[in-house]
């Protein structure tokens, strides 16, 4: 089986982002970027399925600026066989990415597409579901376990209250949750090898996709901060404050 994995270049999860003073967005200049953590889990899962013999080729895809090539190289250092970059300087929203991925799925014809459940920059949690809808295929979102069976994929999903298992006809779309696996560290030899793997660059126009944003961001502001609290010396004064000052217990 062939697996397509979608990866996104985002502001590194350790970076404390700053809202721009003019309220147009978040300052991303000179900020450390890396692969969206959920997408690392997606690549790792695809590579593990190949290592188990359940998958043949693993293709990594990213959409965005030229620098996304670095993200694809990371995916190839984890073990993806080749990369495709849909290069554009335009702002890409989930619906546009889903349409780009749909076009690539129709070209590549994978049996399984794995994405992260959400990107940690826009926190949307939409692209996988949208791709499944556009392709008219089933979706296994928030996966914590993926098992390949004959013509189907069995996915255990993290839902509110516990776990749920569904069986999906392939081709299927799966989005990863945190507990699906622990991505491996990329080693220097694998980084070197990844540089030699094929990476193709295409434009949205070549795929026949209009990527114009549908949502307009009017402004971005800092969240209202919390008032500085106090430290209490002992349990007795904590209980006193909770009972008599804020009256929450």
């Amino acid at each position: 089986m062939k697996i397509l994995v979608a990866v996104k270049r985002v502001v590194d999860y350790n970076v404390k982002v700053r809202v721009k003073a003019d309220g147009t967005g978040v300052d991303t200049a000179n900020v450390k970027m890396s692969m969206n953590p959920f997408d690392e889990i997606a690549v790792e899962e695809a590579v593990r399925l190949r290592e188990k013999g359940a998958a043949g080729e693993v293709v990594a895809v990213s959409c965005g600026v030229t620098q996304c090539q670095e993200t694809l190289r990371t995916a190839m250092a984890i073990g993806a066989d080749r990369g495709i970059l849909v290069e554009t300087g335009e702002e890409l929203q989930p619906l546009a990415v889903a349409k780009l991925l749909k076009a690539l799925v129709e070209q590549e014809k994978p049996d399984l597409v794995i994405l992260g459940k959400q990107a940690i920059d826009d926190d949307c949690n939409q692209t996988g579901q949208m791709l499944a809808a556009l392709l008219g295929r089933p979706q296994g979102t928030f996966a914590s376990k993926v098992e390949v069976e004959e013509g189907r994929v069995r996915v255990t999903r993290e839902v509110d209250g516990g776990l749920e298992t569904v069986s999906l006809a392939t081709p299927a779309i799966v989005t990863t949750d945190l507990r699906l696996n622990e991505p491996r560290y990329v080693t220097l030899p694998n980084i070197m090898k990844a540089k030699k793997k094929p990476l193709v660059v295409v434009k949205p126009g070549e795929l026949g996709v209009d990527v114009a944003p549908r949502l307009q961001t009017l402004s971005v502001r800092e969240p209202s901060g919390r008032k500085a609290g106090i430290k209490v010396p002992d349990v007795a004064s904590l209980v006193d404050k909770l009972k008599n000052e804020v009256k929450v217990i």
């Binding site: 619906l95 926190d123 939409q126 516990g162 800092e222 969240p223 904590l238």
Partner: protein, 313 residues
């Protein structure tokens, strides 16, 4: 404007999150005029439909009943929503695992963008939503003819009861045949649900083990009538089940009182609880970032402080 709320329910009754979404729908109706309808799709879900009809501000309940809707599979529920979507200007879902699963599927089928985790209604087409783990708040406007929105439940109060809407049966869609339900492992809870709890006692890596987590925090949760939560570190270490996780990628909560025990306060955790009314942090590390958001910080060993706290309640 007619606004449709897609109910999340357990067939017998609505889940709490649906009540908050109805309030968001009423906010839109108040700004732009129009009615609020609720869709209950399920099997033998008369209880949930009756429950929805009793909500204040709801004008009509659409009820689709069929066995293929019983397991709430995303493919079937999205198709059911599509069957009525054209009659509406807004489709609102709770930003829960269920709503997040279905809403983007519907949006893509309608070829419209989706707004995730709306925390405030500014206008009928404009919403506020947090981005970057809640470190920035974006105001976004949709020009699409149908607005598909998931609503962050902690941003809105629960709708009250006392209404009397009509329940209108609608035809159920056929099974998609794309997916099937295999089974579920639902954790039994004998305490309040995390997202609806007034008080939450939450533990982190500082607890050290699953045994200590239960032994130290359960009495405090019992004494306060609180729900139990956990940081990702505690969940990953196996101290607590993963549906207890509070944070950017877990549950977003906003209780009256949040007691963080042995939690350092990573930004991903803060994103899930910083809208709590009162935050108490118990941590022995004076530099822990949790103290920057805590209203009351107690710098102490939690293994001594928490039992003492239980005794003094």
């Amino acid at each position: 404007m007619t606004i449709l709320v897609i109910a999340e329910h357990d067939h017998g009754a609505l889940k709490g999150a649906t009540l908050n979404v109805v309030t968001a729908a009423i906010d839109i109706a108040r700004l732009a005029g129009g009615e609020v309808h609720v869709l209950v799709a399920g099997h033998n879900a008369n209880g949930a439909a009756t429950d929805a009809a009793a909500l204040q501000g709801v004008a009509k309940v659409l009820h689709a009943d069929a066995p293929q809707l019983a397991e709430q599979l995303g493919e079937n529920i999205a198709a059911q929503v599509m069957a009525v979507a054209m009659d509406y200007t807004h489709l609102l879902f709770p930003a829960t695992a269920h709503g997040k699963n279905v809403a983007p599927r519907v949006a893509a089928l309608l070829d419209v963008a989706q707004i995730s985790d709306a925390t405030r209604v500014i206008a009928a087409d404009t919403f506020e939503r947090p981005v970057y783990a809640g470190n920035a708040i974006a105001t976004v406007r949709s020009a699409d003819p149908i607005k598909v929105v998931t609503v962050r439940t902690t941003g809105f109060d629960a709708a009250g009861r006392g209404g009397s809407a009509v329940v209108a049966p609608i035809a159920a869609v056929a099974d998609s045949g794309l997916s099937s339900f295999v089974g579920a492992e639902i954790v039994k809870l004998d305490r309040p649900e995390l997202t609806a709890a007034k008080i939450i006692v939450s533990g982190g890596r500082g607890l050290g083990s699953a045994e200590k987590f239960a032994e130290v925090l359960t009495p405090l949760a019992d004494a306060l009538g609180a729900a139990l939560g956990a940081s990702r570190a505690a969940v990953d270490a196996g101290y607590a089940p993963n549906d207890w996780q509070v944070g950017q990628t877990g549950k977003i909560v906003a209780p009256q009182l949040y007691v963080a025990c042995g939690i350092s306060g990573a930004i991903q955790h803060l994103a899930g609880m910083k809208d709590s009314k009162v935050i108490v942090a118990i941590n022995k590390d004076p530099e822990a970032p949790i103290f920057q958001v805590a209203d009351y910080g107690l710098e102490a060993d939690l293994f001594e402080a928490v039992p003492e706290l239980v005794r003094s309640l």
